[in-house]
Amino acid sequence: CTSVVAEDSSGKLYHARNLDFGLFLGWDVKNSSWMITELLRPLVVNVNFVRNNKTVFMSTSFAGYVGMLTGMKPGIFTLTMNERFSLDGGYIGVIEWILGDRDGSWMSFLTRSVLENATSYDEAKALLSKTQILAPAYFILGGNKSGDACVITRSRKSCLDIWELDTKDDRWYVLETNYDHWKPPLPIDNRRDPAKKCMNRTGQKNISFTTMYDVLSTKPVLNKLTTYTALMSVSDGKLEAYLRDCPDPCVPW
């Protein structure tokens, strides 16, 4: 996955992501594609969650999956989640949970609860950084005012790091793939540097849905695992999502 929150020159925040999933879950030699990625595409849905006929939050999700990976509370915050691999992975949390240790929260249920119940960027940030979870993860959170964006790096039991947007320090965007931002990515899976190069080339004053989509359409940020691209503008309450494909030549991840 690649998630990015960027602030334009006027202080408006944009949040965009590519959802990549299906690595090593079956390669279709004939069609040169990952089987589960292909099977997931028809399940992608945008969902408007309403209560009393009013939108509570919006999400891009998979039909049948009741947790959330991408969502927006209009006017308040945007949230995406990226996978974080660790030896102390989710399977340990699942086993502990099955054996009766139920202190940890399921990752996608936590993001759904935050989208449903948190009433501010700060509350969402506190919940995502402090709640014990069953699997490591990156939470990418954007707010609705200048400087409100961060990447929360989580292990199962603690918050390892919160990396904040800082326009005074010329950090006008935060960008997360699937590696801790303070470490180099795996050399055979470096989507971070190509994405950063394109963001820097675009420049803060030109950030928009158009340019964010351009960045997320550049290989290898777009790759064979990319299922959908979602674009969110919290101040406009706008969420757009598009199914993606990466015909050959295209990197498998």
């Binding site: 089987m35 969902v47 408007n48 039909a63 947790g67 974080r84 550049t218 199914l243 030549p249 295209c250």
Partner: protein, 122 residues
């Protein structure tokens, strides 16, 4: 190989509004009414998406059978996981029951789909 063209491109421009070979279509919108009982919330969507949902579940089962060829893993999923549904925080257990019934798919397999992230991080 990832670092050289054509696998790494020059930054793209002019791709929006989406079109061309990297665009596979729009994403449909649905409404989920949180005033409805959790069991009922997803039913109309799942009726539309029953077939692709079952295709994914079948693929996950195939993978599980590839890892443990005896098929015992899926037997375990079907036998063990439904018993845990009541332990999930509200309203997720009820929502997952509603999804499983609407999709006419065993509850344990829909629960597995919903916790796939935690399992997959291995």
């Amino acid at each position: 190989a990832q670092d050289v063209p054509p696998y790494t491109e020059d930054c793209r421009s002019g791709t929006y509004p989406p079109s061309g070979p990297t665009y596979k279509g729009p994403v449909p919108w649905y409404t989920v009414n949180l005033d409805q009982a959790p069991y009922e919330r997803w039913q109309s969507m799942i009726k539309d998406k029953k077939e692709p949902l079952n295709d994914v579940i079948q693929h996950i089962k195939k993978l599980a059978n590839f890892v443990i060829p005896s098929g015992k893993l899926i037997v375990l999923v079907d036998a063990l996981l439904p018993g845990l549904i009541g332990k999930l925080p509200y309203p997720f257990g009820e929502e997952i029951k509603g999804v499983a019934d609407a999709a006419e798919t065993p509850l344990g397999e829909i629960l597995l789909f919903n916790i796939f992230y935690e399992v997959f991080t291995v």
